[in-house]
């Protein structure tokens, strides 16, 4: 009896010591989307490198594949954690977590309510506040009186982006007046286009903002945001400009390369760090279900750097979507845009980043229309 227990215990130990592995299920965008999925893959690569974990990647051809993909992985019983990338997998993870209560799951950027699922969210309101600082100071220094934000569908998570951005703008304008002893103010325009996949609508919204004198526009609308970039670049080029202002700001991944010269920075959702954290917790035995908000202090969000764009390009070149020549041209453009942004903007962005990380500045959160409206008034 005792011997039996010992053998079982030994077996269990050797199994857990021998095979540490994680599986990543991508959403329908798949590898090579230069966004969400590729960011998640980067996290897996880092875990493989630093933790020696075997990573199995599974792509989904359609949304109907999520559930069977997750089930097939769970049935093998050989993965310490199974990770779903993106909120589209929410329903499937919710279901499969109930069917396999002993299997650990993690969901990026979504919310699944089960004890064996770690739902990782990203403090996009904090990241958006940093974008607000850069937008505000750049606009003020170049003599603009307006900045804008173009969003997708009016849902709670996007309200969070908008109010975070406004909070950053408000802080930056106050700080600017303090430094220069002035009494300037900025008008903030916002538009909910009602779509995440309609560049034409994003373009129309951005064109209207530019016509009203916006100097910087933050695009938070998935593919709709591509229209924002296009509008800003066209508007500037029509005036013979090689570099902004006007500027656009990217979102989710390092999008600065999309309109080189006109996107100085993007608000990155660090899905890579989320994936890495989930794997690390699973293999180190500290995994617990529940919600984890990856804040600015935890590197859950960040302002994109030149290196981030380079890393993205390597993925794009590997996927055959970009050439090294395109990379060099894009990097030159990004450098031009970054150089055109006043140093004060970068300095104040770093200052607010420290304040948020240390907890001295708390970015307000709005998750319903009423709260959002309250903050719109407050942050004038």
């Amino acid at each position: 009896m005792l011997v039996g227990v010992l053998i079982v215990a030994l077996l269990a130990m050797s199994v857990s010591a021998a095979a540490q592995s994680a599986a990543i299920v991508f959403d329908v965008g798949g590898r090579g989307d230069l966004s969400f999925n590729d960011m998640g893959a980067l996290g897996g690569e880092r875990a493989a490198r630093e933790l020696g974990v075997r990573i199995r990647e599974v792509e989904s051809a359609t949304t109907a594949d999520f559930l069977p993909n997750l089930r097939a992985l769970a049935r093998t019983r050989s993965y310490d954690v199974i990770i779903g990338i993106g909120f589209l997998l929410q329903d499937a993870i919710q279901q499969v977590a109930q069917e396999f209560p002993n299997q650990k799951f993690a969901l990026m950027d979504g919310l699944a309510d089960a004890p064996n699922v770690l739902s990782i969210n990203f403090a996009d309101h904090e990241g958006s506040a940093l974008m607000g600082v850069l937008a505000a100071i750049t606009a003020l220094e170049y003599g603009y009186d307006t900045v804008g934000i173009v969003l997708g569908i009016e849902i709670p998570i996007l309200l969070r982006f908008e109010i975070g951005y406004r909070a950053g703008i408000k802080w930056a304008v106050d700080r600017y007046n303090e430094i220069h002893g002035t009494n300037k103010s900025l008008r903030v325009l916002h538009v909910y286009t009602g779509a995440f996949d309609d560049p034409a609508r994003g373009k129309t919204a951005a064109e209207a903002m530019l016509a009203q004198g916006a100097g910087v526009i933050y695009g938070v609308a998935g593919a709709t945001g591509l229209g924002v970039f296009e509008a800003v670049e066209q508007y500037a080029r029509a005036r013979g400009l090689e570099v902004g202002p006007p500027f656009a700001i990217g979102v989710d991944s390092a999008q600065d390369y999309i309109a080189p010269g006109f996107i100085p920075v993007s608000m990155m959702k660090r899905v890579d760090n989320g994936v890495y954290t989930a794997i690390k917790r699973a293999v180190e035995g500290t995994f617990e279900g529940g919600v984890l908000e990856m804040t600015l202090a935890m590197d859950g969000v960040s302002a994109s750097t030149l290196e981030d764009n380079l890393a993205m390009f390597e993925e794009a070149i590997a996927a055959g979507k970009k050439t090294p020549a395109e990379r060099d041209a894009a990097i030159a453009g990004i450098q031009r845009a970054r150089a055109a942004v006043p140093q004060l903007a970068w300095d104040l962005m770093a200052e607010l980043e420290q304040l948020i990380k240390s907890g001295e500045f708390v970015v307000p959160v709005a998750l319903d229309a009423q709260t959002a409206e309250f903050y719109r008034q407050q942050l004038q």
Binding site: V58, A64, L67, Q94, G194, F196
Partner: protein
């Protein structure tokens, strides 16, 4: 005219006919198996050339799709909508039309399934039946403009059905995000009520009772085409419209009937993806749970020789390919893009014989002297 050809057969003739039928069926089967083998072999060579273990990959393909009960059930779940969209193409083709509107008709069926399924709190079987009937009617209605334009204005159905596919796509996107959307989950529509959701056949796999709806419709189409006077008329129209007119049949009536029934199949296909596919029971904003099922149906129909029974087996084969795709990724580590290339090769090899016979028939129809001979050999099948 409105009399089934079978009813006039003497027993002796029927026996030779039977033997003939079995022979052609076995011949087709052999062709299909050979084509599949060629396709898989080319796929294996490609995987080998790109540095993946082809043996492991093919083994994974088999184990994942037929290896256990769950895998087989998932295969059937994938096959369910393909049977229907395959029928859409096949039925029209038998009547002489290239109806490639299954995609649009399926989208409309799915939209109607969401709209009715999310608001109709009827007791269990009634709600489901209402949703399926409504989706069928919606698919049929969406197919009507194509046949009306064909009959009244002579507009080719390829043009109209393609256009209506796009109209359906954009209409669906608008409705999903602006009318049927779930306010807490922007990526999809509201879910249909639990009362109208179809139950799974075995726990832990995706196949639901929707499978039986698909198979039932396939069997009905089989009966319709080969054992009913209406089907006989349709097939004659497909072979030679002049002959039908001469014999007193109405080609106009046949066109409308064909398009309506094809639309019914596609509409129900859309419904099966909403009320018969766990776990979401809603339509995604990018329509990604419908994918390209309408167009995949064309390939299914070609592999299944445009025959309802053949289509059931072809759809199961296609389902096995997509179910096997996940085990090929998990067990053999082959990336999805390469798997799709392999699938493409297999499907092309399998669709080749039917595509060739269609082409041959088309060429023959251009040469009047040979037309009647080709039509006669065609009628035997």
């Amino acid at each position: 005219m409105r009399r089934s050809p079978a009813s006039s057969n003497a027993p002796a003739r029927s026996r030779t006919e039977m033997r003939q039928k079995v022979r052609t069926a076995l011949g087709s089967l052999l062709q299909v198996v050979l084509a599949a083998g060629v396709g898989l072999a080319i796929g294996a060579i490609m995987m080998n050339a790109t540095g993946y273990d082809w043996k492991e990959a093919l083994q994974a393909l088999w184990l994942g799709s037929f290896g256990d009960l769950w895998g087989f059930a998932d295969t059937l779940a994938e096959a369910t909508p393909l049977i229907l969209t395959g029928l859409t193409f096949a039925l029209s083709f038998r009547a002489g039309y290239f109806n490639i509107g299954a995609q649009g008709q399926m989208i409309i069926g799915a939209l109607v399934a969401v709209a009715i399924g999310s608001s109709l709190a009827a007791p269990k079987p009634i709600g489901m039946i209402v949703v399926i009937l409504a989706a069928a009617a919606a698919g049929a209605l969406w197919a009507m403009p194509a046949s009306l334009l064909r009959v009244t204005r002579g507009v080719h159905e390829v043009i109209t059905t393609i256009m209506f596919n796009w109209i359906a796509t954009y209409l669906a996107r608008y409705l999903v995000f602006n009318v049927l959307n779930d306010p807490r989950s922007a990526e999809r529509t509201v879910r249909v009520l639990p009362e109208v959701r179809m139950g799974t056949i075995i726990a832990g796999a995706d196949a639901t009772w929707a499978l039986f709806v698909s198979v039932f419709i396939a069997l009905f189409f089989y009966w319709l085409l080969w054992h009913s006077p209406w089907g006989f008329e349709m097939r004659i129209a497909g072979l030679n419209r002049e002959a039908l007119r001469y014999a007193g049949g109405s080609p106009t009536w046949g066109v409308h009937m064909t398009f309506l029934l094809a639309g019914v199949a596609a509409g129900v296909a859309g419904a099966t993806q909403i009320i018969g596919r766990p776990p979401t029971f809603a339509l995604y904003g990018d329509l990604s749970n419908l994918g390209q099922l309408g167009f995949d149906g064309i390939a299914v129909a070609l592999v299944g020789r445009n025959h309802p029974i053949g289509i059931i087996f072809a759809a199961i084969f296609f389902g096995a390919l997509s179910t096997g795709a996940r085990t090929m990724q998990i067990m053999a580590g082959v990336p999805l893009d390469l798997i799709r290339v392999v699938h493409g090769v297999v499907i092309m090899a399998m669709a080749a014989p039917e595509t060739w016979s269609i082409l041959r028939r088309y060429i023959a129809s251009r040469v009047p002297a040979r037309a009647s001979a080709a039509a006669a050999s065609r009628a035997e099948r």
